[in-house]
């Protein structure tokens, strides 16, 4: 109305209609861009499932699929937390080392006769503390999280090696805590149930709570968020506490599943987690995170690892494939999907 009123220049009415069209196109593009990535990874997952179901004999059995889910549960749990971190345009490279340290320490304190419940609480608290340190340096001291968590990666791995002297520490199979890794409820492995709960809570938190909104805002335009009065440093710190906590839980699940705490656990774990998150369409530059994408991404990685083993492919290839997938996913995120207007940086 108002823009078409001043008719001093002849070109104005077309401008108006163009703007309306632009707006509609923008919404369509934004929505397609947002969901296309999730749909794409979903399609890839289905194709992989079909491929392995026909090529590997034992792939499509309930036992194998449940096993696959149990294998991928720790990855999924940490990937959910990592989605928050990456959405703020941060990164946490220390999760793999945290898995090793928490798993090792759990086994050691249990060997020293700690009550399993107390040990569990202490280990989770340790994970949160590690995350707090990561978050304090990155968010309050403005040191790039890449460097902070890389340093912590080394510190945690070294601490785990020092604590165990490189040996694995067995966990007594009679303790209830072993059920976390090995137990089943109605036939479903406990880690899977935990992962589903974490995923559901993470999903609601990211999409439906003020905290989730601030995580996206922090990655999108942190200064803008700060000016509205939100304590952005606290938000920036909290996401690392989440990954620390999730990594500790993953450490507990892995150690109890193997009935042993090893300082070599979780090597390459951070790569797997970050690959799952990026594969799901979460932007490494922040501002865009997809929980559903992360879940599908983690499942895809699990299916590939499991399927390749069943096809008797050398497990060494799994690492190569994973790295290649990470590279391709980042490439797709920043080049292919950018056409849909989903990526603007």
């Amino acid at each position: 109305m108002t823009t078409s009123e001043p008719t001093t220049t002849a070109g104005k009415p077309p401008v108006v209609s163009e703007r309306v069209v632009t707006t509609r196109a923008a919404r369509a593009n934004a929505h397609i861009g947002k969901h296309a990535q999730t749909i794409a990874i979903g399609v890839v997952l289905v194709l992989l499932l079909i491929f392995f179901a026909f090529s590997a004999d034992r792939f499509a059995t309930t036992g194998n699929l449940l096993n696959l889910l149990r294998q991928i549960s720790p990855t999924l749990i940490v990937a959910i937390a990592m989605t928050f971190v990456i959405s703020t345009s941060g990164i946490d490279l220390s999760v793999g080392s945290t898995v090793a340290l928490t798993g090792s320490l759990l086994a050691i304190v249990l060997q020293h006769g700690w009550d399993p419940t107390l040990a569990l609480v202490a280990i989770l608290a340790l994970g949160a503390l590690i995350g707090f340190i990561n978050g304090w340096f990155s968010s309050y001291q403005n040191i790039p999280p890449f460097i902070v968590t890389l340093a912590m990666l080394s510190i945690m791995r070294g601490t785990a090696l020092r604590a165990t002297e490189g040996y694995s520490t067995p966990i007594d199979g009679d303790l209830w805590i072993v059920q976390l890794g090995q137990g089943r409820v109605a036939g479903i492995p406990v880690p899977v149930i935990l992962a589903v709960v974490v995923a559901a809570v993470g999903w609601i938190t990211l999409t439906r709570t003020p905290f989730g909104r601030y995580v996206i805002g922090l990655g999108s335009n942190g200064e803008s968020l700060r000016r509205t009065g939100v304590n952005t440093r606290k938000v920036g710190l909290a996401v690392y506490v989440l990954t620390g906590l999730a990594a500790a839980l993953a450490g507990v699940l892995i150690a109890t599943r193997l009935s042993s705490g090893s300082s070599n656990a979780g090597s390459g774990f951070e790569l797997e987690v970050i690959t799952a998150v990026v594969l799901g369409g979460t932007s490494l530059f922040g501002g865009r995170g997809s929980m559903l994408g992360t879940m599908l991404g983690a499942l895809t990685l699990g299916v590939i690892a499991n399927g390749l083993v069943l096809l008797h492919v050398s497990p060494f290839y799994v690492q190569i494939v994973q790295g290649a997938i990470l590279l391709l996913a980042i490439f797709a995120n920043s080049k292919v999907w950018a056409r849909f207007g989903a990526v603007r940086k």
């Binding site: 009123e5 401008v15 707006t23 999108s220 803008s224 009065g229």
Partner: protein, 279 residues
């Protein structure tokens, strides 16, 4: 600080900044600036780069604490330690660099930091957010058909409109706009200027910083020219020509008083191409 001389005069003003001084090391950013703004008045604050416009506005928004001087807001002497203090009194500043989150939708940006909540404050009330956003945008005549698209997908003018609308949702008494029309297409400048008129018609005082001098004559009641940390001129926008304004900005003292400019001003405004059927 100073006793209430001329208190009657001051109560009608929304804000009076009196003898504001600020020094950064060797640089006198503000050398005793006095500025007053009435309710619903639109002030154009102009001046060359480094004239002290932004510093003065940061003082008013609480982002910079002055070395000396007095700020009277609605008849009360106030002092701001933080932007929050200023905001609580109803002073909102929209910054030059579009303070929006591109990845969050229109409604989310409008309510960022104060989202309506449900379930005991745990969850966002997304439905109410979109409803309130729609009402709010309609009330300001901002034509954004959809509140659920990320603001990154909007045009520059629409984004600026959203940024101003967000400031207005706080229910400000004074709105400071720092270069709101820089980097906008011609048609989009219209959107923003219309919005400034709408907002001031609702009784909100507006201080507009801009380098687009032609915009000033469209929306402003008064033009305040700053020069090297002082307020050089306080002009009636309706009785001032563009030449007069420019000469004040570049501080050409040889131009005489400007009383004779009143007649010239109308002609100048008629010639201004962006001055259309707007008024």
């Amino acid at each position: 600080m100073a006793p209430a001389d001329g208190a009657a005069e001051r109560t009608v003003d929304r804000v009076v900044m009196r003898d504001i001084r600020k020094r950064y090391g060797m640089v006198d950013a503000l050398r005793g600036v006095t500025l007053r703004v009435g309710p619903g008045e639109v002030i154009g604050l102009v001046g060359d780069n480094a004239a002290g416009k932004s510093t003065l506005m940061k003082v008013l928004a609480g982002a910079v604490v002055p070395d000396s001087g007095e700020i009277v807001f609605d008849g009360q002497t106030v002092s701001f330690a933080t932007p929050r203090d200023a905001r609580e009194l109803g002073i909102e500043m929209v910054y030059q660099d579009l303070a929006l989150c591109d990845d969050i939708d229109v409604a989310g940006n409008l309510f960022l930091g104060r989202e309506p909540r449900k379930a005991g404050g745990l969850l966002l009330d997304v439905a109410r957010m979109h409803r309130d956003a729609r009402q709010h945008l309609d009330a300001l005549n901002i034509r954004i058909p959809l509140t659920d698209i990320p603001v990154g997908g909007l045009s520059g003018g629409q984004r600026q409109a959203v940024a101003i609308a967000r400031a207005v949702t706080f229910g400000p008494k004074l709105l400071i706009l720092d270069e709101p029309t820089a980097a906008l297409a011609v048609a989009e400048v219209e959107t923003v200027l219309e919005l400034i008129k709408t907002v001031s018609a609702q009784g909100v005082s507006v201080i507009l910083i801009t380098h687009r001098l032609q915009d000033l004559f469209r929306v402003c009641d008064r033009l305040c020219v700053m020069y090297e940390g002082t307020l050089r001129a306080d002009l009636d926008a309706r009785a001032t020509s563009l030449e007069r304004l420019v000469s004040e900005i570049v501080a050409h003292d040889q131009i005489d008083s400007g009383k004779s400019d009143a007649g010239k001003a109308d002609g100048r405004k008629g010639n201004d191409t962006t001055e259309g059927a707007r008024r």
